[in-house]
Amino acid sequence: MIKSIRLFFGAATLVLSAVASKADELPALFAERVKCVVAVEFFTETELDRRPTIVGAVVADSAGTIALPATAINTFVQPSKLKDFRIYLPGRPVSEYSTGEYLGQDPLSGWHFVRVEEKLRASLVPVTMFSAKATASEPAIGEEFWGVGLRGKDEDFTPYFMSSRVSLVQSLPERTAIALAEVASPGLPVFDRAGTFAGVAIGGFGQTFVQYSRNDRGLPIMLLNVEESSVFQLAAEITPWLSRVPASVTGRPISWLGAYGLQPMDPEVASFLKLSDKSGCVVSEVLEGSPAEAAGLKNRDIILALDGRPLPRLKPDRIVVNYFERELGKRKPGDVVVLTVLRGSETVEVKATLAEQPELMREADRTYFEKLGFTAREFVYGDGVVRRVKVAGHKGVVASFVKNNSPVGTAGLRPDDWILEVDGTEIKTYAEAVEKLAVIEADAARTEFVLLTSRGGETAVLRVKLK
């Protein structure tokens, strides 16, 4: 899930001396701006465990809305499994935490939103309080920025100061500044010298080193600092995201085109196809029943423009795919998009009406059968896509979790196995599967049952011994 973009730095020197001239103002600016920063802790409950996560987050508005970075929560996790959101003020005793409610994930930014309970709201200041009055200009090369870092829970999330200079500004596809050294903890805001909100730090950027040791002679390794980041997305682009609080915990509406496996067209290919200055995305597969299919988009089409605007050439090449997906994300189901595509050697216009995304895995119903030792999950559209089966008229359920050494685990069931039959009877719906399995689970006299499962296109009969 983590984007890893390698960046090569020269010697990263902290330019603390330059800060000295105005350093007297910084403690005050810092103390004021720490109020738009919190630490958020929550628990992901699975069938067997309860895993804590702690992330830094920014205050999005004055209604107690907190924005968490996209990577805070795995997209497959059901919102109902996220429990006990706790919001901590930096530097305050951790025993004074406030509770929060999960509001969902915004499909465009990927950000997750949490609303903190009433009592804490007065202590918080939205980061937009520090936004530039006029449209801010882009950071200049060498310009100095500073941000907030948070220590660990055992240190009461004590805030600390970081600062660096901008080395490069890139479109990834959002305008993103890369500093010489770490400027803030991921998910936390960055400010300019005057204290104006300049952006939010994002994690996932590694640096390549060569490791020498007794055993390794020059082994390239990538190191990722998970506590601090030197990369931040610029405020001008992401400030609107702060108000994209989902209407429901599902994050819907989520627009859907159904062009699967988009791959960037590299410049060599573009020039071979006599599209030398153009950028594009290759459509690997057009999904069954999707708006793309209805519009007549074909496998292997190369998308060159969206609504008449050519796709930009961004570096690295694969960023164009993120760009295209972001652009679709800005549109709503029902919106019409016009795609200019290269098909073979001709250019074709395809007009598609975006639809609502089919049910996602995180929205699928599931039931845990503790005695049998697995969770049966509803078969959703995405399951058909990954298994390359026709989704229309699908059947069966998916084992989303299998407990080790449980009756089904011993019989050979594995996570992601597709269950087609229970006791020789075809499973047509999720409800039918749950009903049958519940009967087996409740029957204390049952000694065994039989599953027909499918994995990697091959079926197998599994005999599950219950006694």
Partner: protein, 456 residues
């Protein structure tokens, strides 16, 4: 008790096998001093060491590797039986060291990876010209073997020519099948194996397992690495049939219907079957004759062409599969199948059995080595059809690697031409060699399609 090793043995080493030792020094053997029969002495004169140089396509270019194995001469006209993983169509140089320590060349007559057997013929003209002599071994009936019977393995372990080791038959009907067992080719589906505790090491491969009279009862093939004295040999009765087939045709043609069986074990109750009846179908290959006839996982085969089958235990599966495999390709087979309370009797027509491993090739100017996508590979990986070439190696700095192609990519088109066969790609490569020009390649990785340019 050996607590440390007990933990390691059961599962992890199951698929490991003895392969050829890549390099070893020739060690002059001393005479075997043992109280052995005349037959045994005769056998020793029929065992050979085999030095192989073969092509490999793993590194983005055609490379050569060498190895050592063993073999046994089985006819007066110089046929040598060895393992398919010792001598294969990839072998470019085969030389045989006779009991007299003289070396002669040999050629491949045929190979059959399903039973891990290959047949070579010694260069008789050379033998005659140099006045060399050899004997040939006799087979015994491997069905008569019993667990506990003393046996000897003869071969070239780790290059130690003419090594004899002794053990017993540990099990005379061992089942294991390995889908990538012989250089990536399937093995063991149609036969059971002899298991012995006679020491078998890399280099023993292809050598004979013999009884006290020096008669060949099996061909040593593999063992668990890291285990003590768990070795396997192909039974002589299977080898005899394969030798006959390979001598006649160079290969063994088998029939295929596309069922993957599972052992029924104690499922008779569930399927309301009489004891010792039926073969459980675990899976049916999409598009296969069995699929076309409507068979599916969970069906029970009761009889094949009227003859009842009993597939209760894993050991019973290979002989049943062999019944189908032994039918001529294109034969109609009547299969009686039980599904729930119904009994169906579909008739299906067999197809030719093919390996999942396709032909390999090197495109030197592109720095690219490929393997043809086979029907079985396409099925396993849920590809639409068997179009394409699987990239198995790229050479750094060459056009394919520079363009960004990687191992595991499947090349589906070159210059917009669909790669339906290796020849299509060879023609494209030849055109590139004749007149180097940027070449457009379409490849798929994990269902994601990318375009690449191979630049001269």
């Amino acid at each position: 008790m050996k607590p440390a090793t007990v933990k390691e043995t059961p599962l992890s080493s199951i698929t490991r096998k003895i392969t050829l030792l890549t390099a070893a020094f020739f060690v002059a053997a001393t005479a075997v001093k043992a109280d052995v029969s005349r037959g045994f002495t005769h056998l020793l004169d029929a065992v050979v060491r085999i030095d192989v140089r073969e092509e490999s396509f793993d590194a983005g270019a055609r490379r050569f590797t060498s190895g050592i194995g063993s073999g046994v001469i089985v006819s007066a006209d110089g046929l040598i039986l060895t393992n398919a993983h010792v001598a294969s169509p990839r072998s470019v140089e085969l030389s045989v060291t006779l009991a007299s320590l003289e070396r002669v060349n040999a050629t491949l007559v045929g190979w059959d990876h399903w039973t891990d057997l290959a047949l070579l013929r010694i260069d008789l003209a050379e033998v005659k010209r140099r006045g060399l002599t050899f004997t040939h071994a006799k087979f015994a009936d491997s069905d008569d073997l019993f667990p506990g019977q003393t046996v000897y393995a003869v071969g070239t372990p780790h290059g130690l020519t003419r090594t004899v080791t002794r053990g017993i038959i540990s099990n005379n009907r061992r089942y294991f099948a390995d889908n990538r067992g012989v250089k990536g080719y399937e093995t063991g589906l149609f036969n059971t194996w002899l298991q012995t505790d006679a020491a078998i090491n890399p280099g023993n491969s292809g050598g004979p397992l013999v009884d006290e009279k020096g008669r060949v009862i099996g061909i040593n093939s593999r063992g668990y690495l890291g285990a003590d004295n768990l070795a396997f040999a192909i039974p002589a009765n299977i080898a005899k049939r394969v030798v006959a087939g390979l001598e006649a045709d160079g290969n063994i043609t088998r029939s295929y219907i596309g069922i993957v069986p599972g052992a029924l074990l104690d499922l008779e109750g569930f399927y309301s079957l009489k004891q010792n009846t039926g073969l459980l179908i675990n899976s049916v290959d999409p598009g296969s004759p069995a699929a076309k006839a409507g068979l599916r996982g969970g069906d029970i085969v009761l009889s094949i062409n009227g003859a009842p089958v009993d597939g209760r235990f894993p050991e019973q599966l290979p002989p049943i599969l062999n019944i189908i495999a032994s039918l001529p390709v294109g034969t109609a087979v009547k299969i009686e199948v039980k599904r729930g309370d119904q009994t169906l009797s579909p008739e299906l027509v067999t197809e030719k059995l093919e390996s999942r491993q396709g032909e390999e090739w090197a495109f030197e100017k592109w720095g690219l080595t490929v393997r043809k996508v086979s029907r079985a590979y396409a099925r396993e990986n849920q590809l639409d059809d068997d179009t394409g070439l699987l990239v198995i190696g790229v050479q750094p700095g060459f056009p394919a690697a520079v363009a960004g192609l990687n191992r595991g990519d499947i090349i589906t088109k070159i210059n917009r031409e669909k790669i339906t066969s290796l020849d299509v790609a060879k023609a494209q490569h030849a055109a590139f060699v004749a007149k180097p020009a940027p070449t457009l390649v379409e490849a798929e990785t994990d269902r994601r399609v990318s375009l690449y340019i191979l630049k001269p």
